[in-house]
């Protein structure tokens, strides 16, 4: 919770989603948020200031009534601090200038909540509570002019939905970034290409293969065929758990491409699970040489390239 010190929340939170002028204009247009709404919102600034204290108190009373959200405000000092922040946020809704700086601030607020691990359901629930609470206050303040209360409320709702959209975007962005980082981590897993005899290569594949990694593997494999003048390549997939249709087809294509370059590919270490998947998916590996394990693969490769390995009668004694 000490992340929420004022110094931190004022500074940009590393890489935060950016919303441009054009995007903001589009969002406003879609919500039909115009100058009349800005005027309506600035018009209720006095009311907002009058009720801010009560609204915030009600708001936190509501938050503290639930186990999920209470956990975030265990420390009374923290609670006081976020209350002040919340009040600032609340008053900002009726201060006009809903520009890029405004969206940037909203995105930052969203990012802070995302980092804290506040679930989206609670985030949206809080907005809902705000709207209902403020609606009641508006009716109270404008009890003689219900039409005005209603129209200012509608303007406020548009702005709140703009904020909600921004907040959810920060959550989506954070998850996308996590996915991206994981993908990069997977791509960085090295796939060594090991020459083990002249013209023979072994490529052990470990872990998960997705379409992207499969593509990268293909490129690496085809260029190493050229670089090593390879005649036979053994792809060992003992360490691969699952293969989907796309990856399997990709593998078939790689084998064909290697053949176009004059090399034979042997696939070694097909697990029973993968064999079953291949059959179930109806992938035809008929024209591809597959063998049970790496040993068979090496033997086949040696045979294909004319090597004959024999054990000598009297192996030399180990020097160790």
């Amino acid at each position: 919770m000490d992340q929420q010190s004022p110094a931190m929340s004022d500074s940009p939170y590393g890489d935060v989603l950016e919303i441009g002028e054009e995007e903001l204009a589009q969002r406003k247009a879609f919500l039909q948020f115009g100058d009349a709404d800005v005027a309506a919102l600035t018009g209720i600034n006095d009311v907002a200031r009058r009720y801010a204290g009560t609204v915030i108190e009600d708001f936190y009373a509501h938050l503290l009534a639930f186990e999920d959200t209470r956990a975030f405000f265990a420390d009374p000092q923290v609670l006081q601090h976020v209350k002040n922040m919340q009040k600032e946020y609340f008053l900002r809704l009726t201060q006009g200038n809903y520009d890029l700086a405004y969206t940037q601030n909203r995105l930052k607020v969203g990012t802070i909540h995302e980092r804290l691990g506040l679930p989206i359901k609670s985030y949206l629930g809080m907005y809902n509570f705000y709207l209902r609470n403020v609606a009641a206050k508006l009716i109270e303040a404008y009890d003689k002019q219900p039409a005005q209360a209603w129209s200012s409320f509608l303007s406020l709702m548009k702005l709140t939905f703009l904020d909600m959209g921004l907040a959810i975007d920060t959550y989506v962005y954070a998850r996308e970034r996590t996915v991206r980082e994981q993908q990069e981590a997977i791509q960085d897993l090295p796939t060594p290409v090991l020459p083990f005899r002249e013209g023979l290569l072994i490529v052990p594949i470990i872990g998960m293969i997705d379409a992207q990694r499969a593509r990268q593997l293909t490129q690496q494999l085809l260029s190493s065929i050229r670089a090593n003048r390879a005649k036979v390549v053994i792809i060992d997939i003992t360490g691969v758990q699952t293969v989907d249709t796309r990856v399997a087809n990709h593998m078939v294509q790689t084998v064909e491409a290697a053949r176009l370059m004059g090399a034979t590919v042997i696939i070694a270490g097909v697990s029973p699970e993968i064999a079953q998947t291949m059959v179930t998916l109806g992938i035809d590996l008929g024209r591809i040489a597959t063998v049970g394990d790496l040993q068979n693969g090496v033997e086949m490769a040696e045979q294909l390239s004319g090597y004959k390995v024999t054990r000598t009668e009297n192996p030399p004694p180990h020097s160790s």
Partner: protein, 122 residues
């Protein structure tokens, strides 16, 4: 730009240039057919090292050359398909079914020797 055909003993070597048009390919096929007959060649090597794009017409023509050379009693081998070209080809389903392939000219000559060696002895 037409592809030059070099004669080396009983082998013809055609080097396909990067900027080969469809008409050039057809011309290459005709010239190869005539030359195999004229020089009584036993093997043809088509070197496509310089080719950076292989479209379906080129692939079909190469297969055609292969089948045609075989009909004339010789063997043809395609050499020098680049990694990127190879992968692009299989993605388009152009796998040059039935045509022997080799990494480069050197390997192609060795492969030709092997194919013809087994044909002569067996």
């Amino acid at each position: 730009m037409r592809a030059p055909i070099l004669k080396q003993g009983k082998i013809l070597i055609a080097t396909v240039q990067g900027s080969l048009t469809d008409a050039d390919l057809v011309q290459l096929r005709e010239e190869l057919a005539n030359d195999v007959r004229r020089y009584r060649s036993s093997g043809v090597i088509i070197d496509v090292t310089l080719l950076d794009v292989m479209d379906s017409f080129a692939a079909r023509t190469l297969r055609g050359i292969n089948a045609m050379v075989r009909l004339l009693g010789a063997t043809s081998i395609i050499v020098g398909i680049q990694p990127d070209v190879a992968f692009a080809m299989v993605q388009l389903g152009l796998t040059l079914e039935g045509s022997p392939t080799a990494l480069d000219l050197q390997d192609g000559l060795l492969l030709l020797q092997r194919i013809q060696g087994t044909a002569a002895h067996g």
